[in-house]
Subunit: 263 residues, 2 copies
């Protein structure tokens, strides 16, 4: 079998679709935008689209499918949202009830698929600009924290912001604002730096998701809005049925990272 590391986005989706492969997507198809997935019935779709529109930093919209359509025609023509994600999570009334590699059996005529930007895109560009990304250096998952900052609610959807953190020197933080600010569709510029308590984070060494990373003497924690925010909103808002990707098992689009910077 050919090495998956040489595959482009479409080839990786097809490998996942075949069902022989299921693995986390960080590092796969470098340069291609990876996306968070949320699938909801039409009855909840307007509220959720409005939630994303009102909270573009945690929920930057890359593509939304037509009612009943599993093909994300803007970012991956020919792809199939029912099969092309390596691992799905099924939520009933806000509770995780199953993890599956294929949702063809669960698909409904009234489903709408939402693909939302993720921080992998700007991390690649940070690294290319010579900025450190500590959790990659340390071979860990990015540290993520629940905050006490509420999102703008929309219809039935509400919840607090989740943030990811990367330690940087002040000079690096300034450069990171410039670099990531160009990627509005991948969470954009940071939300905050410095004192974690401003966000309601009590212990920076004890993240709610992912793993703690080293913060050096001359560094401050820098916080970005995080794509886990919509999953938390789904847990809190308890729509009857929702399907998402499993954390780290993203949908890989045909869009190149740099395309996200166009106005």
């Amino acid at each position: 079998m050919q090495d998956i590391n040489s595959f482009n986005a479409r080839e990786i989706r097809e490998a996942f679709r075949g069902g022989t492969l299921s693995q986390p997507t960080p590092g796969l198809a470098p340069g291609y935008v990876q996306a968070n997935l949320v699938i909801l019935p039409q009855s909840d779709a307007f509220d959720f689209l409005l939630f994303c529109t009102r909270n573009p930093k945690p929920c930057p919209i890359l593509d939304v499918t037509e009612v009943g359509d599993w093909e994300p025609r803007q970012v991956a023509p020919g792809a199939d949202l029912r099969t092309d994600v390596p691992l799905y999570r099924v939520w009933k009334s806000g509770t995780l009830v199953d993890e599956v590699t294929d949702i063809r059996d669960l698909w409904q005529e009234d489903f709408v698929g939402f693909l939302l930007g993720c921080s992998f895109s700007f991390e690649a560009v940070m690294l290319a600009a010579g900025l450190p990304v500590r959790h990659i250096e340390e071979g860990k998952n990015v540290p993520m924290y629940q905050t006490t900052i509420p999102c703008q609610s929309a219809g039935r959807f509400s919840g607090n912001m989740v943030v990811s953190m990367r330690p940087l020197t002040p000079k690096q933080a300034i450069q990171a604002v410039e670099v990531t600010g160009r990627f509005a569709k991948a969470h954009g510029a940071p939300l905050h730096f410095g004192n974690p308590e401003v966000l309601g984070i009590r212990n920076i060494n004890s993240p709610d998701f992912g793993e703690a990373v080293t913060i050096r003497e001359n560094e401050i924690p820098v916080f970005w809005a995080c794509g886990v925010t919509p999953q938390l909103a789904i847990m809190k808002s308890q729509p009857g049925l929702a399907i998402t990707h499993a954390p780290g098992y993203m949908f890989i689009t045909d869009v190149r990272d740099e395309e996200l910077t166009f106005s």
Copy 2:
């Protein structure tokens, strides 16, 4: 009565709300973002929000109200979409049936209001950067053209792109791309420059809306996506009922132009 030219955004909205004043808004409350307005019943709201999401250049979303709520809480807390626009248009099945200065009698419990960015914001910044805006120099309305470029359709909404045109030298055009590219929520960077036929425009001196302007020897026409696009989509897609602003009679928000450049 106090001079309206000294009013801030809120004061102007209140003057319109009182019903004693109805005038076009260009030039009013300089520095404040002006917005296109579309109001639709909830049954068409998801399709229209998706249409805007898929066509962010002609339809950049500034705010969307909750079902039944006339207050645009994100961009103008305390404002009233039923009264604060100086002139409204009422559309039935895609046909213009009335122009009114107040829609309190027409308001329905299922209405959703959409405020979309407009080019006034980037024109102010172009002028500040020393770039010419010909229709302002010549005291005219901006020339606008229907194109043969289809928007991405969404549910019941489809239509071709409408563009506005400003003549610039190549050097100015490059600077204008940089300046306006920062204003993704006010149509962003141009779509095209040069040969109008690429967009299906037969006669640059005969715009479909607004007025023709002088294009000098050393200049090329530069084309931006235009906020008339959603009105054309409404005419073509014929939702049962829609209310919009009348061209040039915009909703004035509390947002400052420069705020639109944040990621």
